[in-house]
Symmetry: C2
Subunit: 430 residues, 2 copies
């Protein structure tokens, strides 16, 4: 079963990368079926989503071929797991930046050979994909960059490094001037490491162009998000999430063009009051842990029960894209400093205190006129599961309804989650 | 049931501190019974352990009275949760430093109102003790100091701060020069905060005296540890753990005197080949998460099955005490820098990489002539449960037998743990 996936035969490319081709075929089958159920079954989708269908159908095919072609031309492929690794620095060496966070529980059995069972699904997934030889992205990488955001990833990178070279930068956990000094020096150290790996020098010109490229991508996503303020929403939350997921894999310039074209279409939809759900559908803001592709479980449960998701307060969403890099720097050091500043502004739950995130959730709920918030946490994710208490306090103060879900990548709890989502949507409809 | 606990009536003092006296009475009953079973039932204990019996019997009584008397005299009581908070700085303001990490699951139900169920038992315990009003130490504190060592504590302090003022310092997670610069500035910031709270100035003279006091305490513990190289061991691992636990509560000068007196007695025991277990008892090194009082479950299981614990690679053990502060500084800044250096040397699993810890475990196993290592991890403790994989690799390379245990503060798994311990000791006896 490979519906929705590429018809091309990439077997020899996968074999060359050391992929377990048979197991990988199974993965693509599951992925294709999931995509069919979650995305292609939607009615009245924007025509521009055809591009995303294509991106997903070729996510382990043509896109990997593009990476191999880039490597053939002397460009490097750098893998990252987290928002705190600046794509700008990689692009400034003509490198290709790919997000490696994984959203499927394939490989979990292999991961549990080296990680505790009580590790979050995202971490088990990226380790599992590597150990089970199922991720052509990680195999295509010349270097992988880790960070010290959470205990789970920080310590898992030590083990991952035994299988794939992983360069770790220290993300601080507070936002003092001294933490910023540490972070700026880490960003400089990263730039030097990437120069060493790629054999390219980061010039001010290259860096400026990279900053503009990534800012343009973010602006296209801002435009997409703004359109979701409309009632009815012109695009489903599932499709918006998919776009946010695809940005970690796709070529940034092409992606930006396609998203802007999609937004042109959505402009027309909004003007004509064309939506994907009835105007009275409950509007939900999803907040919490990142949903890496193909983790579509919770958004699917929410929308198949008649709600529409109008925003993602997530690393794979507005938390990850809302801030731009200040484009005013002129020297390399100036620009690296501005890049560091922008990235330390991200309000990940790894920081303490992190009241900016509470404020941002409230602000998003108001801005997108959400009827309620569904907080999504991956089981065993300490930062987000503990921060939930503060989020709940903040939303209670503002009178915004909240449902907290904690789950993993399995399907065993789907019925239980759905029952809770249905009950919550009932409340929102009242 | 309050066997082994003080006969004095401290009810009015506890009431004055806002303790839930009735529930607290229950806690003391459980503690007294546990102490009877784990400690007082031992045969052939050193006579010097009578002091520790007294310390424990008065741990919520006379010692709290001493804290209240100190406060009466204008001294402050500062609570800490972690090795990374330098006791020296507190002592230099004539303050009293008390360790608040808690080792009992009383209060867990209250803690789960504000924390996820999947939080480590130690964190649930310190939050639970506060919410259930069962810890006179935290109530006696003028200020509590937290740190950013692990995700769980870092985020739990945000919630804890709603109930008790908690000042958090940033512990870095790597050991680069820039991380050290951050850490040194955090230590200076802490010193200023403690000066503010206590109203006292930290002079070089006061700081030098404090450094010597804490170093002397550590040297007494080094002396104790060295005596455990002997066969038969002159003291049980349970008693050695108790001493390591008591150091976080007791007056440091009195404690040092009493431990040195105990060591005089142990010197004689070693000379006379007097031990607490037969010379052929399996010798076990315990390594892993801290065991805060009254967390005695695993050591009790190990020793009641005929082994003797000869070392603790733990925050409540040699990891916490092995390094001394360089006493050579002359100015306040010099000394604070040396203090910072000493504390950043601690090889907590919160650091990446943390190969020093693997090396130290191997070194301790050799030094104390351990037949095997039992790795103790608190369930849901990311840093230690994940680092276990690297520890296992290191011990395998060295041919040192290893048993990994993961547990919480409950008693439900005691039988299962004991069966595994028994099987491991069988292997060591072969």
């Amino acid at each position: 079963m490979r519906r929705a996936m590429s018809k091309q035969d990439y077997t020899s490319m996968w074999e060359g990368l050391g992929i377990d081709v048979e197991a990988h075929e199974g993965l693509l089958g599951v992925l294709g079926q999931g995509y069919q159920d979650v995305f292609l079954s939607q009615e009245n989708r924007p025509a521009g989503m055809a591009y995303l269908d294509f991106v997903i159908s070729e996510i382990h095919g043509l896109r990997i071929q593009e990476l191999m072609d880039a490597k053939e031309q002397g460009r490097s492929v750098i893998g990252t797991f987290c928002l705190y690794v600046p794509e700008e620095i990689i692009l400034a060496t003509d490198g290709v930046c790919v997000g490696l966070c994984a959203g499927a529980d394939i490989g979990a059995q292999a991961a549990e050979q080296v990680l505790p069972r009580n590790t979050c699904a995202l971490i088990k997934s990226f380790v599992g994909f590597k150990l089970a030889k199922l991720c052509p992205y990680v195999e295509a990488c010349d270097l992988v960059i880790g960070e010290t955001t959470c205990d789970g990833k920080k310590k898992a990178y030590e083990i991952f490094n035994d299988f794939k070279e992983t360069f770790v930068i220290e993300t601080p956990h507070m936002k003092s001037p001294q933490s910023m000094a540490l972070w700026q020096s880490e960003i400089r150290r990263l730039a030097e490491k990437i120069e060493g790996t790629t054999g390219k020098t980061i010039t001010p010109e290259k860096l400026r162009a990279a900053v503009r490229t990534v800012n343009a991508k973010r602006k296209a996503l801002h435009r997409l998000n703004a359109l979701r303020q409309a009632t009815p929403s012109p695009i489903s939350g599932r499709d918006a999430l998919l776009i946010n997921q695809a940005q970690f894999y796709d070529d940034p310039i092409r992606f930006t063009e396609k998203i802007n074209a999609l937004c042109d279409e959505l402009d027309e939809r909004v003007a004509g009051r064309v939506g994907v759900a009835p105007a009275d559908a409950p509007r939900v803001l999803v907040s919490g842990c990142p949903m890496a592709a193909p983790n579509w479980k919770v958004p699917f449960l929410i929308e198949k029960n008649g709600a529409v998701i109008v925003g993602e307060e997530s690393c794979v969403g507005e938390r990850g894209t809302r801030n731009l890099v200040d484009e005013s720097g002129s020297t390399r050091d100036d620009m690296l400093e501005r890049i560091a500043n922008r990235y330390l502004d991200i309000d990940c739950a790894c920081f303490t205190p992190n009241t900016e995130r509470e404020d941002h959730i409230v602000e998003m709920a108001r801005h997108y006129r959400a009827d309620g918030v569904i907080h999504y946490a991956i089981q065993f994710c300490g930062p987000y599961t503990i921060e939930f208490h503060k989020v709940a306090d903040a939303l209670k103060r503002e009178g915004i309804p909240l449902l907290g879900l904690e789950t993993d990548y399995g399907t065993e709890d789907a019925q239980q989650l759905e029952t809770r989502v249905q009950a919550f949507l009932e409340v929102l409809r009242q």
